[in-house]
């Protein structure tokens, strides 16, 4: 996955626009998926926003699934449950499915591990591939994106989050931000 551009993300302004990254993802994914068979699953919350857009542009036939990995995290013992967890919803048969998992920022790989564990509780998929908007490195697990928008480099102690404007003229607009790292209850990349 070294063909994607790398951005030195010292602050939010250095990050590429979400739409540019989405276009890059669509270009990679389109020739590789069968719109009639691909089961797309977004990971809460940023991954769901990305997945909603990819799902629409790619014209996938199966309804979009969403997953909240809160109950499968590996740090529950130390960090506790997150407040306001969402219910996972996979509205298609997982057994035998060709799944495209979608997340916003790929970092340690722990979220992807948790999401895959949860997916297998629904059935045995034929294949799982991963699409991520950004890869910021720092993996703790052997996980790689099949489709990737871009690599970013980021200073330690900071994180990249995807934000969505809730209302106003820019309602629904997605924005990438660089910010100091928050507590584990708010995020787990």
């Amino acid at each position: 996955m070294s063909t994607q551009p790398t951005f030195p993300a010292v602050d939010s302004s250095a990050l590429p626009a979400v739409d540019t990254l989405l276009d890059a993802l669509v270009e990679q994914i389109r020739p590789q998926v069968d719109p009639a068979r691909c089961g797309m699953v977004g990971i809460h919350s940023g991954g769901v926003w990305i997945a909603e857009r990819l799902h629409r542009v790619l014209g996938l036939a199966l309804p979009l699934g969403t997953i909240d990995v809160g109950l499968h995290r590996d740090d529950l013992e130390t960090s506790g449950l997150r407040i306001r967890m969402r219910a996972s919803m996979i509205p298609f048969e997982v057994a035998g499915a060709d799944i495209l998992l979608v997340d916003d920022v790929l970092h340690t790989g722990r979220t992807i591990r948790a999401a895959m564990n949860e997916l297998f509780d629904y059935g045995r998929p034929e294949r799982i591939r991963l699409a991520a908007l950004l890869d910021r490195g720092g993996r703790h697990l052997p996980v790689a994106a099949t489709f990737l928008g871009a690599h970013v480099e980021i200073e330690p102690g900071r994180e990249i989050v995807l934000d969505r404007c809730a209302s106003g003229a820019h309602a629904d607009t997605l924005l990438l931000k660089v910010q100091p790292r928050s507590g584990p209850r708010e995020s787990a990349t």
């Binding site: 809160g70 109950l71 529950l76 449950l81 407040i83 967890m85 219910a87 919803m89 509780d121």
Partner: protein, 316 residues
């Protein structure tokens, strides 16, 4: 004011003993946390690793196969190890004291006790003696409280009515002896239900209940008028023997929830019952099985709510 023994120094839930005195946000957090657990029960593998490696002891000093089973399923779906102890049949009959039993079980590395006891307050006594790190859940104590039943009722009401503000809720039956009713009244008040009605014969619903901030009715027809939720209580047979009621037939005639009486409530009113039901005593069969009955969803939600409570106590 002394600190609520159910909460730790930071206000987080440490034991679940009683609904009384719990802050609203603690109740709302339990209801919110239960939502993802409902989806867990819809999967092929109905299990999440939240309590993996933890041991939950079901201590039932009073028989209740049903409640014990729901706690057992909840704990197993959280990947905990579950040990069921029917204490009547073991230590208590050999003369061991309650606290000695608890000390022994604690030494077996228990993480959580689910306690059902005929004596009001027994779970409080246990909670005040367990070491740091062990949580106690009250699964019904005497006439006092049955907090998880009330929470699953609240989850069910919120599921169908979206919010608690603006609701009128009628609790029907043996309110005097019911730990379910007591817990429901506390939970409904804390969550902001503006009108709570209790209804039944004077022997089972005395006027003194108005001190709990509820409206007391002795006529079913008046109490059901315009309500959003009808919560039925189980009529225990022993009430008939004690002279508090003439007969099951008489009771049904005045307080049974028939289709005709339910028609006095709002058209979209829902009917709750904690089970097990006495058809033809407190509820007509056609109502129990009718479109307004949410009695079976209550059972399903009950597992999710107990999973939520155990998770919050187990991992915070």
């Amino acid at each position: 004011m002394t600190r609520n023994p159910q909460l730790d120094a930071h206000g987080a839930l440490r034991h679940l003993l009683s609904i009384e005195g719990l802050p609203r946000d603690v109740l709302v957090n339990i209801l919110d946390t239960a939502r993802p657990f409902v989806s867990v029960t819809e999967r092929e593998v109905k299990k999440v690793p939240v309590l993996r490696g933890k041991s939950v002891f079901n201590l039932f000093f009073e028989n209740s196969t049903r409640t014990r089973t729901t706690f057992e399923i909840a704990a197993k779906r959280l990947s905990a190890d579950v040990i069921n102890l029917n204490i009547n049949a073991s230590s208590a009959s050999k003369g061991e004291s309650l606290l000695d039993t608890i000390s022994n079980l604690s030494a077996m590395d228990a993480d959580m006790f689910v306690v059902r006891h005929a004596q009001s307050g027994a779970p409080f006594l246990i909670a005040s003696h367990v070491r740091e790190g062990i949580s106690v859940i009250n699964a019904g104590d005497g006439r006092h409280q049955h907090p998880t039943q009330a929470l699953l009722d609240m989850y069910t009401i919120r599921h169908y009515k979206q919010s608690f503000t603006g609701l009128t809720v009628a609790i029907v039956g043996d309110v005097l002896h019911s730990r379910v009713a007591r817990s429901q009244i506390h939970a409904l008040s804390i969550l902001g239900v503006p009108e709570i009605r209790v209804v039944g014969p004077k022997t089972l619903v005395p006027d003194s209940f108005s001190r709990m901030g509820v409206r007391v009715f002795n006529r079913m027809e008046e109490a059901l008028k315009g309500v959003d939720v009808v919560s039925m209580l189980r009529l225990q047979n022993e009430r008939m023997d004690g002279g508090l009621l003439p007969s099951a037939q008489e009771y049904y005639k005045s307080y049974g929830l028939t289709a005709e009486r339910l028609a006095l409530a709002k058209p979209d009113a829902i009917v709750l019952h904690p089970g097990p039901m006495n058809r033809g005593v407190e509820i007509e069969s056609s109502v129990a099985d009718g479109s307004q009955s949410v009695i079976l969803p209550q059972v399903t939600f009950g597992i999710a709510v107990r999973m939520a409570v155990m998770s919050i106590l187990g991992v915070g």
